[in-house]
């Protein structure tokens, strides 16, 4: 009997062993569910970030480069056992309470098993922790690229990076961005984001329960390396840009300089400006609040976003329209008694000789001449009514790129003010307004607003005698054959080239013997026009528009200095100094007008009411 019982037991051993072996075959060989689950649990994909494209100026001087920032991350769940939390606190310079608070926050916001513990750890702290990181299992660094800058300059052109926000994440089609990525928020960083960002790579590796890397997956067979972003070569001349920033220092205003032949922007300044390094990922948190509170609006890019009435700088355009439309011709003279009479209203003019030709009218900035020109245009018999004449006038302006965005590759562009007829219909009633209601448009006041870049573009169009290229700051995108097509297409004004001659003659006279003659530069033939823009909120804005040399224009420029006074006092000298700086050979670095240069650099034209509220740390370092 016992013998049989032994056999039963042996059989049981064999049977159980077989059942287990078969069961093992089933879960190990037949069913690959477990393999998939294992990989899902312990396999991680890590993004390999490309180097963002570098940014150079037109002479290939490096302006913007990359600098790593480190985020201290924790794996969730984290095993705190065996971690010297006190040491972590000490290294991070936080106390235990803060440590626990952050840890709880990390647990709540865990995304793919990891979470940020401390954002943008400083280089110093990074080095300290990295050394001992093996002690702090579950903590690791994620390295991202922040920007840094060779020059304390060009902040508004360059823009800055920021973390992609929720709506950008939701809206994207290609699925490029993940939470926590950086993208360009302003300036060319934003405009050329797709060229600069490059192509991400990826790396697969195993992690343990706490997210610690345990070696690569399939020896890296599936890994993909990242492709760095394209470098950007800007048309900005960093020397000219910095020079302009020095001249505009302690002033509110803007300078835009364009190479007329190409539409390339040589300098684009909005003042007050800030140090671009203060707005990179690491520092922006510290400075953004200060910048917002500053009443002089240093973040605001006046060069492309602020509409200013052009004032008298508009007169050359008015003259061109008058000539083209037949309201005047090159030989037209108007008598100026020092005012233009409009019913009971009187529009004052400046003291100059009575008999005023077209050239003279620009040279001496005669209001009467332009009131007359505008009046006769509005009353031309070819138009049925003022509205039609106005629309015609408006169309000419539109051909200079006014009233709509030019399409500049710097973010935040504004279209300016150029009302259509319905605006005046609403204001005065349909058919119940005539030239008299809108006469101030003729000398650049009233419901007209040009951004500095639009103003500079007019200077470029005049320099080119009838065409312009859409102004742009990109000169070359490395790795791409061309810059965007629209920067390579000529836009023609509705003014025939012949009509430019008398106007240009007048603008030359301005700098020889007219309103801009006081700040003439020897040896450079400049065509310019001053403007003094009435400002209901304070002192007049000083404005100037010019191009040079007249015989072969290489630079067109517009300058606005807010609340400072006459165009000839501030805007014109700044423009002339910059023209000289740009045109003189590299070997010459001294201005021919050192006194003028020093005066511009050193004058503080910020209205007194704002001065105490400015935080100079924003501009420095």
């Amino acid at each position: 009997m016992n013998k049989f019982r032994s056999y039963y037991i042996y059989t049981t051993v064999v049977l159980i062993s077989l059942i287990y072996i078969i069961r093992l075959f089933q879960i190990q060989v037949l069913d690959d569910k477990y393999l998939n689950m294992a990989e899902r649990i312990s396999l991680r994909r890590q993004t390999v970030y490309p180097q963002r494209g570098l940014i150079f100026d037109r002479n290939k001087n490096l302006i913007v480069y990359n600098e790593p920032v480190y985020d201290l991350m924790v794996s969730v769940p984290i095993r705190l056992k065996g971690i010297d939390t006190l040491a972590v606190c000490k290294l991070l310079e936080i106390d235990k309470k803060e440590f626990i608070k952050r840890l709880n926050k990390s647990k709540r916001s865990s995304y793919r098993g990891k979470s940020v513990f401390t954002k943008n750890v400083s280089n110093l702290i990074y080095a300290r922790i990295q050394e001992r990181l093996y002690e702090f299992k579950g903590f690791f660094f994620e390295i991202r690229q922040d920007r840094n800058y060779k020059y304390n300059s060009s902040a508004h052109v360059l823009g800055y990076l920021g973390e992609v926000n929720r709506s950008e994440l939701d809206k994207q089609k290609e699925g490029y961005y993940e939470q926590g990525d950086f993208n360009g928020k302003k300036g060319v960083e934003r405009f050329y984001e797709e060229n600069l960002r490059g192509i991400k790579g990826e790396k697969y590796f195993y992690v343990d329960k706490f997210g610690v890397n345990k070696g690569s997956y399939k020896n890296g067979k599936l890994d993909k390396s990242a492709t760095d972003g394209n470098n950007l070569i800007l048309s900005i001349d960093i020397d000219l840009q910095q020079y302009g920033e020095q001249l505009l220092n302690n002033k509110m205003g803007s300078v835009v300089a364009i190479e007329p032949k190409t539409g390339e922007i040589l300098a684009l300044i909005s003042s007050p400006f800030y140090n671009p390094a203060n707005f990179n990922i690491q520092n922006r948190g510290k400075y953004y609040g200060k910048a917002i509170k500053d009443p002089t609006k240093p973040i605001f890019n006046r060069a492309v976003s602020a509409p200013y009435p052009p004032g008298s700088t508009f007169k050359p355009v008015m003259a061109l329209i008058g000539l083209q439309d037949g309201a005047i011709n090159a030989n037209t003279h108007f008598g100026c008694p020092g005012y233009f009479k409009l019913g009971r209203r009187i529009i004052r003019c400046h003291g100059h000789t009575y008999n005023t030709s077209l050239t003279k009218s620009i040279e001496s900035s005669c209001n009467t001449f332009y009131c007359n020109t505008f009046k006769s245009m509005m009353q031309l018999s070819k138009y049925e009514n003022t509205e039609e004449a106005y629309n015609s006038w408006r169309t000419y302006l539109q051909s200079f790129g006014l009233g709509s965005k030019l399409g500049v590759d710097v973010s935040g562009e504004y279209r300016g003010w150029l009302k259509d007829a319905s605006f005046y219909d609403r204001m005065h009633g349909k058919g119940r307004w005539n030239y008299a209601r809108i006469i101030s448009l003729s000398f650049g006041q009233g419901e007209l607003g040009l951004t500095p870049v639009q103003m500079a573009n007019i200077a470029a169009s005049i320099a080119n005698r009838g065409f312009y290229y859409t102004p742009h700051v990109v000169r070359e995108i490395e790795g791409l054959e061309n810059i965007p097509e629209r920067y390579l297409t000529k836009n023609y004004t509705k003014i025939s080239p012949l009509n430019y001659d008398p106007v240009i003659k007048g603008m030359q006279a301005v700098t020889r013997s007219g309103t801009g003659s006081g700040v003439a530069i020897k040896g450079i033939n400049i065509g310019g026009k001053t403007g003094t823009v009435q400002n209901p909120h304070g002192k007049n804005h000083s404005a100037y528009m010019a191009f040079a040399p007249v015989e072969d224009p290489k630079i067109a420029i517009a300058v606005i200095v807010e609340e400072s006074g006459y165009g000839a006092t501030w805007a014109a000298p700044i423009a002339h100094l910059m023209i000289e700086r740009y045109l003189m050979p590299d070997s010459v670095t001294e201005s021919s007008r050192p006194y003028l240069e020093a005066k511009m650099k050193n004058s503080n034209l910020i209205p007194i009411k704002y001065r105490s509220q400015r935080d100079t740390s924003l501009y420095g370092n």
Binding site: V13, I16, R23, I27, Q28, V29, A38
Partner: protein
């Protein structure tokens, strides 16, 4: 008469194979990507205890073959005293007060209690006049088994206590009526059915079964009473199971059973270990991911992966080839030990060796079954493979004692075969 005193080479080789497999697995499970060498850390300790086992094995072979038989009860009593002592002076680790610290080492008397109990059982069952039909002998038998079980349960180590059920196999082999075994199996069946279907459905089911049975046998009145009483007993047992399960078992024990029966899915709580363990083993494929290359093992996803869940490392890194080979090794070892038991001429030796084989079998059944989700999670080691000095040492001397007994079998008089 020429005495042959030779160790059984086959068993010795199987023992060595399993032990080496164990050291390698512990190394893989704890090396932390080669941060430690084989001789450091837990694999080093495992190796040391293996060495100590061999050393003690040599000593055992130097002892007189009859030494053990003479001192059987002393071993038993000594170990029972140790089990009592551990309740008072033991160090508590992981909620179980089952360790005695000696210098820098901790020993787990429960591991040695099986060894001691085997002596007692062998001595008792081979004592002159012992019979399974005597009530007094049955009570003695029960006490010998239940005493260590109770003491170990008091320590909080239910898993180790359950191992003593393997002695039932010994009793069965030696002539205990199979009714107990069958009753045990039926009880497990009712237990499972009750938990899966609930007492109500179980009761309805068994009633239907009875009616079918009655329809075939209603002419024969002598089946009626016993079959009715069986139905009533079964339903009563089912009710008590339900009651015990809901009111007596602790929450985590209840969960473990429910997870094993697939009644609840709980891959984060009670089912976490088993789920991770199945994933690790299942991801090994046919040939495995390679020694030291188990991503799940390296990733530390399985709690207790170098102790109770060591089989995961083997399954993941060696695939089906290694896991089935491991089972093959164990089955061969167990069957070889049964063979040694069968060829023993003395009843005492036969029972002792048989006990060892049955205990190893029970460990294999539960431990491997648990890692592949066929058994509830009961914390007992895979003999010689799981990390643990006490277990390695206890099984080592247990095995060497058995081999020592086998080596001198020719000196023994042929005992009567019942």
């Amino acid at each position: 008469m020429e005495t042959r005193s030779r160790i059984d080479i086959v068993s010795l080789l199987l023992y060595l194979c399993i032990a080496i497999l164990g050291i390698a697995s512990v190394y893989s499970a704890t090396s932390d990507q080669g941060l430690y060498t084989l001789l450091e850390g837990r694999s080093g300790k495992q190796l040391m205890w293996f060495g100590v086992s061999i050393f003690l094995g040599v000593i055992i072979f130097l002892l007189n073959a009859n030494f053990f038989e003479v001192f059987s009860w002393y071993f038993y009593v000594g170990l029972m005293l140790l089990l009592v002592a551990v309740l008072f002076v033991g160090a508590e680790i992981n909620g179980a007060r089952s360790w005695i610290r000696i210098g820098s080492f901790s020993l787990q008397p429960a591991e040695f209690a099986k060894y001691g109990t085997a002596f007692a059982v062998s001595a008792l069952l081979s004592s002159i006049g012992f019979s399974f039909s005597k009530k007094g002998d049955l009570i003695k038998m029960a006490v010998v088994i239940l005493l260590p079980m109770v003491l170990i349960i008091l320590q909080g180590d239910t898993g180790s206590a359950l191992v003593f059920f393997s002695f039932i196999l010994v009793f069965y082999r030696e002539g205990l009526t199979p009714l107990i075994l069958i009753l045990g199996l039926v009880a497990i069946l009712v237990f499972v059915l009750t938990l899966v279907f609930g007492t109500l459905y179980f009761g309805v089911g068994i009633l239907l079964l009875f009616l079918v049975f009655f329809a075939f046998t209603y002419t024969n009145k002598k089946f009626l009473l016993p079959s009715i009483s069986i139905v009533i007993l079964a339903v009563l047992f089912s009710l008590s199971v339900q009651f015990l399960f809901n009111n007596v078992l602790q929450n985590h024990q209840r969960k473990r059973i429910e997870v094993t029966l697939n009644l609840i899915e709980d891959n984060k709580g009670a089912g976490y270990n088993v789920n991770q363990s199945k994933i690790a083993i299942g991801s090994g494929g046919f040939t495995g991911k390679g020694f030291l290359n188990g991503s799940h093992t390296k990733g530390d996803f399985i709690p207790e992966q170098e102790t109770d869940f060591i089989f995961c490392t083997i399954g993941e890194e060696g695939g089906w080839l290694a896991s089935s080979f491991t089972i093959f090794l164990f089955a061969s070892f167990i069957l070889r030990l049964y063979h040694l038991a069968a060829r023993a001429k003395k009843k005492y030796k036969r029972i002792f060796i048989f006990s060892l084989a049955s205990i190893i079998f029970f460990h294999l059944l539960i431990n491997v079954g648990m890692t592949i989700g066929l058994m509830p999670v009961i914390g007992i080691p895979l003999p010689l493979v799981s990390y643990g000095g006490s277990s390695v040492l206890a099984f080592g001397i247990f095995i060497f004692t058995a081999l020592r007994m086998d080596a001198t079998r020719d000196e023994d008089l042929i005992s009567t075969y019942e």
